[in-house]
Point group: C2
Chain length 181, copies 2
């Protein structure tokens, strides 16, 4: 999304050029040739949950690109004005139509190649009735042996589910960090 | 930084208007009136370290606004193309001129009011010689009883240092999450 080069200034509509600003910065930025506005571009956070009901985990089958038809944990881009936890709750409600109680930070996974940080919380489902939104074809509970490992949408989802079942076997949930390269 | 409203399209320079796009979104975005480009605005990550040398912690006195003259842990905005850990290392090098070995994720603190997530790693200093960059007036090691608590630059720094000394007393370092409201 929106990672095409910036061509025009958001403040005055003049052309920008990519160059290192004169303020001590060491990176090229889109600098306005007219008003001098510097346009920073930074990584995005994707926030989501591992929603659990008994020994099963809730997955959503994606109704939208990318990875339409593949299974994912509920997650999406964090918005201004919310915390990581609030964003994770919102995405769980929007994508799965599920209400959960958060149970703590679980994974923080960097996907530097696409400028993203994926942050997942463990969550306890408050009911086993779901009402998925327009981004989801179907929401369903999976026991570990039922998880469609080869049909997961993203590697961050794969990694987060693997950590979840490993930790559960071990009887202790930690916080896991990692890089998807 | 750059949280003024967007006025013009980054792709075509036409005026934008804030409205809910027609793609199922539920938030107002800056949408181009001419080419339809949607300009998303999202939270920023600030990444840094708690650099430790023996029983002392490295703090930097800020040479720049905001909070010029106040003390901070080395931290700054995460950049595209790096991981949270790489960003934390880079900021420690740039602001304190210090080389460290990271020892794990330590705090994740939301500052939703300004659209930021602050992420700190514990870090072991590899030497007690520092060469601060232009953003820092002075870098110095502080034992717990020497920390200038009333002269810290940011509440995220205060909270992270408090967690650090509490955990050290307890003999166990966890991962801490919280909201600065
Ligand atoms: Zn301009
Ligand atoms: Zn346009």
């Amino acid at each position: 999304m929106w990672r095409n080069p910036i061509r025009f200034c958001r403040a005055c509509a003049a052309a920008v050029e990519y160059r290192v600003p004169d303020d001590g910065d060491s990176r090229a930025r889109a600098v306005c040739s007219s008003c001098g506005t510097i346009h920073y571009e930074n990584p995005l956070n994707v926030v989501g949950t591992v929603p659990v009901w008994g020994d099963r985990v809730l997955l959503c089958r994606r109704a939208i690109e990318p990875r339409r038809g593949k299974w994912t944990l509920p997650a999406g881009f964090m918005e201004l004005g919310e915390t990581t936890a609030e964003g994770a709750l919102r995405e769980t409600r929007e994508e799965a139509g599920a209400d959960v109680a958060l149970e703590g930070l679980f994974t923080l996974l960097n996907v530097a190649r696409v400028g993203q940080v994926h942050i997942y919380y463990r969550a306890r489902l408050l009911s086993d009735r779901f009402d998925p939104g327009h981004e989801t074809l179907e929401a369903r509970l999976f026991a570990e042996h039922e998880v469609p490992w080869d049909e997961l949408a993203f590697r961050t989802v794969h990694e987060t589910l693997r950590c979840y079942f490993d930790d559960r076997r071990r009887g202790h949930f930690g916080v896991h960090t990692g890089d998807i390269v």
